[in-house]
């Protein structure tokens, strides 16, 4: 069964690598946020899988819960600032350098 978990973990890492393409090269900041969200979701699963590989699931599970929450807080916190600046920026393209 450990082999299956290892294969699954490697597959998850491959998908993390693919998602990192969007994080690193995404044309807009919001694309990067979406990418980071996907990477965060994958990391949550990966942590629990690593917990199984180390045979110590309950300790890793706590971090996984914190991860799932942080992933949410990150998205909300970042977009909150965009929402706040609605009046100040007037919905322009945002190409100020």
């Amino acid at each position: 069964m450990n082999t299956v978990f290892l294969i699954a973990a490697l597959g998850l890492l491959v998908s993390t690598a693919i998602a990192m393409v969007r994080v690193v090269g995404g044309p807009t900041v919001l694309d990067r946020i979406v990418g980071v969200n996907v990477v965060g979701a994958q990391t949550t699963i990966l942590l629990i899988l690593i917990g199984y590989l180390f045979d110590n699931i309950s300790m890793f599970l706590d971090i996984a819960i914190a991860y799932a929450m942080l992933n949410f807080i990150l998205a909300i916190g970042v977009t909150k600032f965009f929402l706040r600046r609605k009046s100040a920026r007037g919905g322009g393209g945002g190409e100020e350098h």
């Binding site: 890492l13 690598a17 990418g35 990477v39 942590l47 180390f54 706590d62 945002g94």
Partner: protein
Amino acid sequence: MIWQLDLFLLTLVVVCALATITVRGLLSATIIFAAYSFLMCLLWAEMGAVDVAFTEAVVGAGVSTIFFIATLFRSTTRSRLLIRGVDDPHHFKDQGWKMLPLMLSVVTGMLLFFGMADFPAWGDPESRPNTHVSSYYIENAVRETQVPNLVTAVLGDYRGYDTMFELVVIYCAGVSVVSILKQENL
């Protein structure tokens, strides 16, 4: 320690770090840095340092990202809001390659790399810290501190002052996040 995962994660972390310093736009750099933090925490957890991983997740991915973004939105740097900024190829041209910093960082990196050769092997039972300090903790910690978890005993009792001020720092960080996020006129 599973070397397949290690190799993959290290590659991703290096890619993230390079992207963070080369990307145009501080907001984008912050977001990539959050991804870097997530992966770094995974790396810590994968090496067995679960407490460091927890701190990295909360401080690196959570608090510092929110801090960076709050700072960016409150400051008036020229490149703060590059929402559509695609990396332009002229970025490096006007800077030129600065030879001295490059040499310095390469030399420092080499020195650190050579210093790594003196480390004991990962998880070596015969290494100096494992034969001297740990055995004392393992034998006496439960009797002296009445704490069943060894890591908690070391962090909370033998290194109690260290941990206390760490907690003060984390508490201050939390309070500052709340007070910055509560500002109405952001």
